[in-house]
């Protein structure tokens, strides 16, 4: 089995991260924005794991576990907020959830 060079992992991570960031910026639906955020988190996880393997160090993998835990908690809270917002405003459109302004 040939080793996949680390540069490919990093390129894949950068592509995933960019997709996530663009998704956050351009999509209107809050749930899709949310999913895009998860995508960005996992792009970073991939880079962590790749470096962990490359450097023969467990620290990167430990960090990934933390990120996944936080992401899970964040998903629970975030979805609850989205549901609560939908019940109040009957929309999950980020453009229309703009009460916090001047």
């Amino acid at each position: 089995m040939t080793l996949v060079p680390i540069s490919l992992y990093l390129i894949l991570g950068a592509i995933l991260f960019t997709i996530g960031a663009v998704g956050v910026l351009v999509r209107r639906n809050v749930i899709v924005i949310f999913m895009s955020i998860e995508l960005m988190l996992n792009a970073v996880n991939l880079v962590f794991v790749a470096f962990s393997r490359q450097l023969q160090s467990m620290e990167g993998q430990v960090t990934v576990f933390f990120v996944m835990t936080v992401a899970a908690a964040e998903a629970a809270v975030g979805l609850a907020i989205i549901i609560a917002a939908f019940r109040n405003r009957e929309t999950v459109n980020a453009d229309e959830l703009n009460l916090l302004r001047w």
Binding site: L25, L97, L100, R101, W102
Partner: protein
Amino acid sequence: MHAAATPVEFLWLIPVLPALGVLFNLFVGPRAGRGAVNVVSPAVVGVAFGVACYAFSRVFGLPHGAALEQDVYPWITAGMLQVHVAFRLDALSGVMILIVTGVGFLIHVYSTGYMHEDEGYARYFAYLNLFTFSMLILVMADSLPLMFVGWEGVGVCSYLLIGFWFDKEANASAGKKAFIVNRVGDAGFLLGVFLIFWHLGSGPHTLRFTEIAAHAKDIPLDTVTLITLLLFVGATGKSAQLPLYVWLPDAMAGPTPVSALIHAATMVTAGVYMIARLNFLYILSPTTMAVVATIGVLTALFAATIGLMQNDIKKVLAYSTISQLGYMFLGVGVGAFSTGIFHLMTHAFFKGLLFLGSGSVIHGMSGEQDMQKMGGLRAYMPITFWTFFAGTMAIAGFPPFAGFFSKDAILAAAFGSEYGSWWLWLLGLIAAGLTSFYMFRLVFLTFFGDCRVDEHAKHHLHESPSSMTMPLVVLAILSLTGGWIGLPEGWLWGDRFGELLAPVFSAAHVSEHMSSSTEAALMGASVAVAAIGLGVAYLFYLVQPGLPMLLAWKAKGAYNLIFNKYYIDELYDALFVRPTVTLSNFLWRTVDAEVIDGVVNGAANVVNANSGLWRRWQTGNVQQYAISMLLGAMAILGYYALR
């Protein structure tokens, strides 16, 4: 002054007892009801009087000139200044606490009758007890700063009690006037204290009287003159002397027992007490002594002339008080310190009596104070009349009443002392004649002649209750006999009062040489002018009631001048009050409302306009925020990457 002091542990009780009365009246009194207030308020002062009597007997038992002392606790420790709350009881402060608690007790008892219909009953007694507490601090204080605490405390109580019925504008402003005029004097007093501290030299200072006495001789003479004059400014404010006397006549707006206690018997004598207490300092400066004596005799004469023409019964007594205080200053000003204090004591008896008597008249007359609407009250109020008559005999200076001995001793000292002179004596004598005249005018207008009381008041006309007449009787007895402890030299047991106080004034020995024939002649002159005053008043107000009017018409200019109190109030109003009001209005409306408020509001407006611009940044759109975050993150990364 320099004799050893005996430490004791009970002196604090004397001022603290009335302070307990204050707490009771403030927190329990309004709910406990009048019965309880009636008992507690006089009782605390009565018990304090008992303790004071015991303390005074202890002073008697001490070797000549010694004092009782109690150091309660260190009060101010700040660098060179180490002031203790400490009390000192020698013959001088002993006499004072007996007057304050004794006369004070009688006036508390009297007040239970006088104020029994008033709404603010507990408040009244709280103030009255607070006053007693402050006055006791003033006279028992061992150091100038503690004395100043009492000095200010009595001023506050005076203000509170003058404006006791504060729902009337006139009463409230009379209280304010008293307080502000006193502040002018207090500023002088305080500067005097600072100067003393400044000149005591190096080392820690307690500002105790003994310490000041020990260092008095090291202070340069000019400075001593300045110090004593500044302290005397304080005395002119507190004791209503020229030129700061104007508040005392207005102070009559307060309840009459207050006039008796504060504005006749005790507080206004604080200035005399202060000078007597600092006799070792005053005696060093002949200039100050001359100023004190001159101001005293001029005030005595000046106030007596105004008293001639007042129609309000309390106003006559107020000007009479100013005049009698002038006598006391004349006494201490010519170096006769114990005589000044002697007159202070007899004056407390007879002027307290006269004020309480006038209160009894006002009470019986349903609040009327104008003597022109009285007359013939002798038949309706016999006890008030006879006691009032005793007080009048005493103040006019007829033997054997108390005022004769004290006033005569002052006049004799004014004539014979090394600080005195014949013109001080003559002016004092004229004032004595005027005193006799206006007091008998008051008596004749009020108690003799036809009854000019209107029908409604006549219906209610009655003798006062026994709680009011009993103090009158006690004070009348004291007005008769109180002078007998200070007889002229060579009479029976002689001047026991002077001997008692002599050690306190040992530093200030003033020679006084007079032949006994001179002394007898002076005494004869005093009695003669008193009799002339009585005779003229009799002629003017009982025999020929038209005569005063005729005289007033003949000497219209002088009459108007005196009737309007020499226009002094108008003068002060134009000189001080109105410029101050104008300046204050300018500071308020222009400087404060426009300049200062303008700067503050302007700063707020600039910030407001700015933020109005910048707050548009906050659109509420999450994705815009996300873009700015991203751009920010990229900018930072770019900066570090390209650096």
